[in-house]
Symmetry: C2
Subunit: 359 residues, 2 copies
């Protein structure tokens, strides 16, 4: 059965109202909203049919109607109007980006914080795993027993580690090691760093003390970390303000699910579209999310950095507002990350330096 235009209007009205009140919506309030010039009786009939069709649900006879997941789905796909950001909101987002080019993980959690405070829902920020390789490797000699290993990865992130040895090494060896490493260990994937490769490198630079092993371990560790992806959750406590999570048990279930970050890493892979993705209630695989919805936006910069920023809330969620905000954030993030190599960064640093001198 086709869903008539009038039904659509009514469904939209029901959902809009339910989103703001969190209370079952009755036929009368729709009639009085002035959206349609119909009596409550007519609307009642329509709502009854929408219920039969599965777009609405009734908590109990003689209560108003509540949108079903199917209803939300239609709403999200076709009915809701794409909301635009207010100037203030856009500005808040831009300012937060302007801050500085922090380390990636800081940036991520900062962006999560932003999304959460803007939407008033808990936010998750995921860095998608990227199969990186080492593009450059250096050892900095500190003293006989100590040096710093620095690895730059193909995704332009730089990692370091201070290494102490139980014996001392001469600077020449460090130099040699560094160059052997740069020829043998760059551009290859983590699992290509095999004992065979390591021992051949050991021979190449005459290392008998396991120095190569230490450096290789660092390389493997670094690549492993980059390939893992990370999840940050921010603003989980906001759940408690929502009427659907007044029950501490429900709130606890969802919050502890969210804070075991491992779980969330399951989300990313699905979905391709460049746009927002909405998962409504039972569309979520995880049992803990069955009564909640998730709105996700993907961002990516130059194929190397990919990530997801998302918001978790009750199925009754302000989808259109949340989507608009996430979309804006994700776009900004994509832009920021792909222009990181442009002059802007430099200018900013200089300006920052100037400020410091003043106080």
């Amino acid at each position: 059965m086709e869903i008539s235009d009038r039904k659509r209007t009514i469904l939209t009205a029901v959902i809009d109202e339910y989103i703001t009140t969190a209370e079952p919506v009755g036929s009368r309030s729709i009639a009085e909203s002035g959206l349609l010039d119909l009596s409550s009786a007519t609307i009642r009939n329509e709502m009854a049919e929408l219920t039969v069709m599965g777009y609405l649900e009734q908590p109990h006879t003689s209560a108003g109607r509540v949108p079903s997941p199917k209803g939300y789905r239609l709403y999200v796909n076709e009915l809701m109007d794409r909301q635009r950001l207010s100037l203030e909101e856009a500005q808040a987002i831009n300012e937060s980006f302007d801050l500085k080019m922090k380390k990636l993980d800081k940036l991520m959690s900062e962006v999560g914080r932003l999304a959460s405070s803007l939407t008033q829902y808990p936010a998750v920020a995921l860095a998608a795993p990227v199969a990186a390789t080492i593009s450059r490797f250096d050892l900095i000699y500190v003293d006989g027993n100590t040096f710093i290993a620095v690895a730059m990865l193909s995704n332009s992130s730089v990692h370091n580690k201070l290494i102490h040895l139980p014996f001392s090494v001469d600077p020449g060896m460090v130099q040699r090691l560094s160059s052997v490493f740069n020829t043998n260990f760059t551009g290859i994937a983590e699992d290509k760093i095999t004992p065979v490769l390591i021992s051949s490198a050991e021979r190449a630079c005459g290392d008998t003390m396991g120095l190569v092993s230490v450096a290789a371990a660092f390389a493997i560790d670094t690549l492993g970390k980059a390939g893992q992806g990370e999840a940050y959750v921010t603003g989980a406590s906001r759940l408690l303000r929502l009427p659907e999570f007044r029950d501490p048990d429900k709130a606890h279930e969802l919050m502890s699910y969210l804070s075991e970050n491992g779980h969330l890493l399951g989300l990313p892979e699905s979905g391709e579209s460049d746009d927002i993705q909405v998962l409504i209630g039972p569309e979520n695989v995880a049992r803990e999310l069955k009564d909640s919805s998730v709105v996700l936006a993907r961002y990516n910069a130059g194929d190397n950095i990919k990530g997801i920023i998302g918001v978790v809330g009750p199925t009754r969620m302000d989808y259109s507002g949340v989507a608009a905000k996430l979309r804006y954030i994700a776009e900004g993030l994509s832009r920021l990350l792909s222009t990181q190599e442009a002059p802007r960064g430099f200018e900013k640093l200089q300006i920052k330096e100037m400020n410091i001198g003043e106080h």
Copy 2:
């Protein structure tokens, strides 16, 4: 008025019971516990006096008694028996340490997670701000427009940043810059890096393109970050399982207070003792913590890395158990951090390397 031994015993019994049940304790249950060979009437009289003395409180006439903050204070200071860890608990802690020597911030949040899961309360991990200086500075030349700045701080942490320039620089300049930096910028505090110093360094290496400024900005930024301290909160959702936080508003208040990490950084400075510190209810300065208690343990390693690990819970908290666990964790952490320069780290890396080869 002196508090008699018998009163002490009764107070202890009341608190012990209240800690486990979270319900006001009546004279009868104390009498029946068999701890004292007294009738409930006598205990009633004693409890009445304890109430007058301010160690106990009565939610309303004809309810049992509840310990007051003053009562908890006495309990923590004198009455509770120092609990020892079970073998399993000690083992869990040790295993978690064994993991690996992660980057400091990862380690911290990991330790917070550990404390939280062990105590079943939310945990906070603070890295105390340390006035660090740069002990070594290097620039790694990547290509004309790109190099990596690496700074090792006096607290042995190493930081890096990838710097892109809008113009190209020759390797010689990078070299010169690096050595000028090492002589002029090491061993000094953040606020000593003044425009005067910068321009003199610029002259010293013939830099006309602001390269020194960029590097100095990185240095300042790095020192600033190190001197800020960071706070991680883990397991906040556990609050919701406690009867005193069944009220979502209360839970929300505390949780959002905790998650605005800035607040917590206020905690550290007070208190000197090397041992556990307990802040009971109103002893906390922050209004949001007035109904909660905080147990803190300090750890430090070689004067350079200092931190706090703590647990937040209701005033009715298993102080003795929590204290024992925190003490153990803090000791382990101190040990781990100060032996980081010892051979162990090296051995572990080698072993790890071996494992990798096998699969």
